[in-house]
């Protein structure tokens, strides 16, 4: 009897040790990735790197300014399209909880959420690149906007669902029309949640490469025209990392560092905003 108990306790101890061990092992890759990016990335970064254009192979002092600007452009284009539609759809879903149409839209959002990003690239290619006969920042923005939408819609809906009904009722009881209640009372209360959603959406798309391969395409030069191809940090990392040139690998580490800081920083800010 006693032995049986010892056996059971031992089994329990062995199990928790295994769990802790496996958890520890799964953090190792994270530490390694962060370590390599920090070690190789920081040494690659200087003023020239941030403000210069890419240099031809063999020349020193190339930078990634076009990729930084391109990434920001793509994020802004995608946000301009996705934020209004996302917030409005989120409002619609939280205001019509039980309607059949809303249920359908909810499933639609879930399906779009699961579409692999490379396929959104094909879609944006067919919708924007083919008719305009040119790769463009706009096409990249469309692909990214579709990726961003579900995140914004979900967090808007969830945020608004948390706001007590009494608030809305109080406003309506004072004779404020419904749309003004939504805009002036409900949205401001849910603002931090909605902003969290937008930031999460930006964090989701800022590091994306696959949908940009055949939409934004990449560009060695600075470009501010949304109807022309632009470079972006992820695209640049892809092309540089798969190139055979030593100097480009160094630049890719630098770009990875910038991208990691940007994306992980966004995630961090999101948490701060959400906590408030």
């Amino acid at each position: 009897m006693k032995e049986r108990t010892y056996y059971r306790i031992a089994r329990d101890k062995i199990f928790i040790s295994t769990v802790v061990l496996l958890c520890a092992i799964s953090i190792v890759p994270l530490l390694l990735i962060l370590y390599y990016i920090a070690i190789n990335g920081i040494s690659a970064i200087n003023w020239e790197f941030l403000f210069n254009l890419p240099a031809p192979v063999g020349e020193e002092g190339g930078g990634v300014s076009n990729a930084i600007i391109g990434t920001l452009m793509l994020v802004v284009i995608a946000s301009i399209m996705a934020v209004p539609i996302g917030i409005l759809t989120g409002i619609y879903l939280s205001e019509n909880k039980d309607s059949r149409f809303a249920g359908m839209i909810r499933s639609t959002v879930e399906v779009i959420m699961g579409v692999p990003s490379i396929i959104l690239g094909i879609i944006a290619y067919a919708w924007v690149v083919l008719p305009m006969r040119q790769f463009s920042a706009l096409a990249g923005g469309v692909a990214l906007a579709i990726m961003m939408l579900p995140v914004i819609i979900r967090s808007t809906e969830e945020t608004l669902n948390l706001i007590p009904n009494e608030l809305k009722e109080a406003s309506l009881a004072l004779g404020v029309p419904y749309y003004r209640t939504m805009i002036k009372v409900i949205l401001p209360v849910g603002l931090s949640g909605i902003i969290t959603g937008i930031l999460l959406g930006v964090a989701r798309i800022a590091g994306e490469t696959a949908p940009l391969l055949f939409t934004a395409f990449g560009n060695q030069f600075m470009n501010l025209n949304i109807f022309k191809p632009v470079n972006s940090l992820p695209l640049m990392i892809y092309y540089y990392a798969t190139s055979p040139y030593e100097q480009w690998h160094v630049d890719a580490w630098g770009a990875s560092f910038l991208l990691a800081i940007f994306v992980l920083g966004l995630n961090f800010i999101t948490k701060l905003v959400a906590r408030r």
Partner: protein, 331 residues
Amino acid sequence: MTNKEDEKKGSRYERNESIFQWILIVSSIILLLILIGIFVTLPLNSMDSIKEFGLRFVISTDWSPQKELFGALPFIVGTLLTSFIALLFSIPFALSIALFLGEYFTHGIISTILKSAVELLAGIPSIIYGFWGIFVLVPVIRMLQIKLGIAPYGVGIFTSAVILTIMIIPYSASIGREVIQLVPNDYKEAAYSMGATRFEVIRQVILPIARSGVLAGIILSLGRALGETMAVTMLIGNVNKLPDFSVAVPEGFSLFSFHSYVTLFDNILKGFLDGVFSPSNTMASIIANEFTETTTDLQLSSIVEIGLVLFIMTLIINLIGRYIIKKTSVM
């Protein structure tokens, strides 16, 4: 006078009211249109290849732009192999993290650290995983391959599966944690009061209740693995062939010689390792690699058809996962 003004104001409000409602509905409809657009665009742009190859497309192994022959089987196999190996690897880790955060250490500094670490893992862009993989993981795998006595490519199915494992752990782990936390305390306390150890509570109370939710998390992470592009594209080796698992029958094989069986077993093991470590291509990676380099319309439409197949596969996997989650949450 004031009455009239009020009336005017009232009708203006009513008008704005209906405009507002319409805007909400229209934006929802846009979403629906996007999805319908995806459903229509993919088949429309792969019509050539669908007409040309029909069902042969998914069972043919020949992918050669020169001969104008396109079959997607190597990529389907490559996708399934990388994803399922990754899934297999990820399950013990994801389950451990889920139990650690959902049961053993729900609060406190250690759990905050692990939780943040998992969130960071989920936040790192896939291009960085791929880049890191090329320069850190590939040399390690190459060393492993030399030890095992197989061709030291470094890149291949196994390498991609390892990076995919790291990438999908956060998804199944976070869903698993949520489900495990939902298990009612009463059940656990009942088991403890009868003298059960923690392990027994986990195995006989928590996991049976949380089972379908954990499963759903694993299925959803499979959906991610199937569609993952960049990291895999950089690490898979980009070879448009079916992975070769063939086993050489040893020379002079005799049914009655023990030595023959030893050699055969060796060959089976070697064939398996050769297959698992061989360079390949997935559906997502072939699209990423060849989309802008197509020479004929037929090739382009074949690549779009691969996208269609990938879309349908991930759609089915995701729907199954969501269905299970919905059923669980009703409980």
